[in-house]
């Protein structure tokens, strides 16, 4: 397992890095509207009506953006949580913690891509 983790590290780092870069940039606008402005009633109702939301989301760019919004934060999150585990004297448990976290990110990523295809 340790050897396998070493082999995939560069790819994980790439996904993690894009989670930091693209994920952060996309999440800011997303949280501002979907997470805060809409629930607080600051957004007109038609803006996020099902028809409009689905039309936007099902467009090609919409699908790519939504996929990125799901996949990238998951890998950033999983990788950072692994580092956090190591920060708390977790070097020895890492061989168990890392695969679990990355499996969660992978499951979420697959579900996310399916969800985007399904739109």
């Amino acid at each position: 397992m340790k050897h396998f983790l070493l082999k995939i590290e560069p790819v994980i780092w790439l996904l993690f890095g894009q989670g930091l870069l693209i994920g952060t940039m996309l999440l800011t606008g997303w949280i501002l509207i979907v997470g805060l402005a809409m629930p607080l009633g600051l957004v007109p109702v038609e803006a996020l009506s099902f028809d409009r939301a689905h039309a936007l989301g099902a467009s090609l760019i919409g699908r790519l953006v939504l996929a990125a919004l799901i996949v990238l934060p998951l890998w950033k999150g999983a990788h950072h949580m692994r580092h956090l585990s190591i920060d708390f004297r977790g070097a020895d448990r890492d061989v168990v913690v890392a695969p679990i976290l990355y499996a969660i990110a992978l499951a979420g990523s697959i579900a996310g891509i399916l969800a985007v295809i399904r739109l």
């Binding site: 949280i31 805060l36 957004v43 099902f50 998951l74 999150g77 956090l84």
Partner: protein, 146 residues
């Protein structure tokens, strides 16, 4: 006063009359301000993971039809969810500021024939992209464009 580091840090201690004492670190090491900021940075991983799963739920509901979508919007109005997203926003901004400040120095001086632009240009470009993308995305989501 001092606490232990990982017993194998740098090298395990040798036994015998010339034995070394195990590696240690000052008691205040983990509570230093910079280290605490760093630990907070790593801890935002949990927030990002949850944000990813919430986004997954939203997209799943969008694909499930109008009733599921309206139910999703209703659950997003839950005060706890709103509070989580407020924490999410703070985390994302904290991560962005810290990561972007480090990003320029992480670019190799050359990849093949290509050189990166000077650090201030990279930093400025990152913020322009961040703010621009945020404004654009928010405008689209809030109904201002398209």
């Amino acid at each position: 006063m001092a606490g232990p580091s990982h017993p194998d840090a740098m090298a395990p201690s040798r036994p015998g009359p010339t034995r070394t004492a195990p590696p240690q670190m000052p008691a205040s090491w983990w509570s230093a301000p910079r280290i605490r900021t760093y630990l907070l940075f790593d801890a935002t991983g949990l927030v990002y993971l949850l944000l990813g799963f919430v986004a997954l739920e939203v997209v799943w509901a969008l694909g499930a039809g109008p009733e599921a979508w309206d139910a999703m919007l209703a659950s997003l109005r839950n005060p706890l969810v709103v509070a989580f997203h407020a924490l999410g926003l703070a985390s994302v901004i904290f991560v962005g500021v810290r990561f972007f400040s480090f990003f320029p120095k992480a670019q190799p001086p050359r990849i093949g024939p290509m050189k990166p632009p000077p650090a201030p240009v990279i930093l400025g470009g990152l913020y322009v992209a961040w703010i621009g993308l945020t404004v654009l995305f928010a405008a689209i989501l809030a109904g201002g464009i398209f």
